[in-house]
Symmetry: C2
Subunit: 161 residues, 2 copies
Amino acid sequence: MLKLTKKADYGLIALKHLAVKGASASAKEIADTYQIPLPLLSKVLQKLAKNGFLLSEHGTHGGYRLARGAWSITALEVIRSIDGPVFLTSCFTGHGGCNHLDTCNVREPLRKVHDGIQKLLASISIGDMAQDGAPEAVECSGEVSAPVYAASPALPVLPSL
Amino acid sequence: MLKLTKKADYGLIALKHLAVKGASASAKEIADTYQIPLPLLSKVLQKLAKNGFLLSEHGTHGGYRLARGAWSITALEVIRSIDGPVFLTSCFTGHGGCNHLDTCNVREPLRKVHDGIQKLLASISIGDMAQDGAPEAVECSGEVSAPVYAASPALPVLPSL
DNA sequence: TCATGTAGGACCAGTTTAGTCGTATATCGG
DNA sequence: CCGATATACGACTAAACTGGTCCTACATGA
């Protein structure tokens, strides 16, 4: 089905909210604003905090705020942080999930698509989303073997795959 | 998790197999070659046949063969035919799955990613995959004919998006 | 007629998703 | 200190999806 989970969606929503606001916000505030179940959003935020995207503050006027610059957080990182590794097929899990490596005939072509999707996700940052305008970086040429993606100003370092 | 289902995977494998072989093949042949459970592959092939990608032939020497030129079948079509519509988020299902359209702040940015992925998938055809790194160790039944595609010209079908 | 093939519905176990609940803990305003 | 407000986190559940099996019906060629 190739779709994002709601958790990842919620994570992106929350991060963009914080980026736009430019200050800290409580989970409740975000949950109320976007009609997200509070306990569910809390878990997402906790995971984002644990992975270094957010700083959390307890107490009466606590909440979350961005731990890094919005431009340095990519959608790929966020999704991977919440949903785990992003794979186009189970072949790419690395731990030999594919039992017929010698016979499979679609792995290499699919890897190209896979890489393209990753680049695409890595080319959009929370900062891009926060200014709501088109990053217009998302330009996809038809040629997969030679994809030309105009990357965001500063393409951040990807965590090791 | 953003990953392809095995069914879609199997569909692509089968289509590429048929494109490379250039002749018809039975579900059993394909299933044996790639270690795919036969009944599962059968369902995928039936769906592909019903959607106009394959022609089926009953009987002793029956099987499936491509109904269209390999270069005119895109990965996007195949995946969509097997797994249903491809959506990045549930917001894009069209039938108003998203209940807070006015407040959601990530829809437009995500739509760009969504479109990019669709273009990427639409830019790869079975023909592309068939001529990719072809291991050519395909030594199935009898003849090893030079792969001849129905549609000769390299006509990269560009997405209309 | 029989082996071999497709067509397709019913069923099932395991996993994932989305979400709830309960409880512990930290911080601030009184 | 007290209590309101916040995060932290594990256990639990219902529903959906995935991957797969089983069974029957039907078509075709030798």
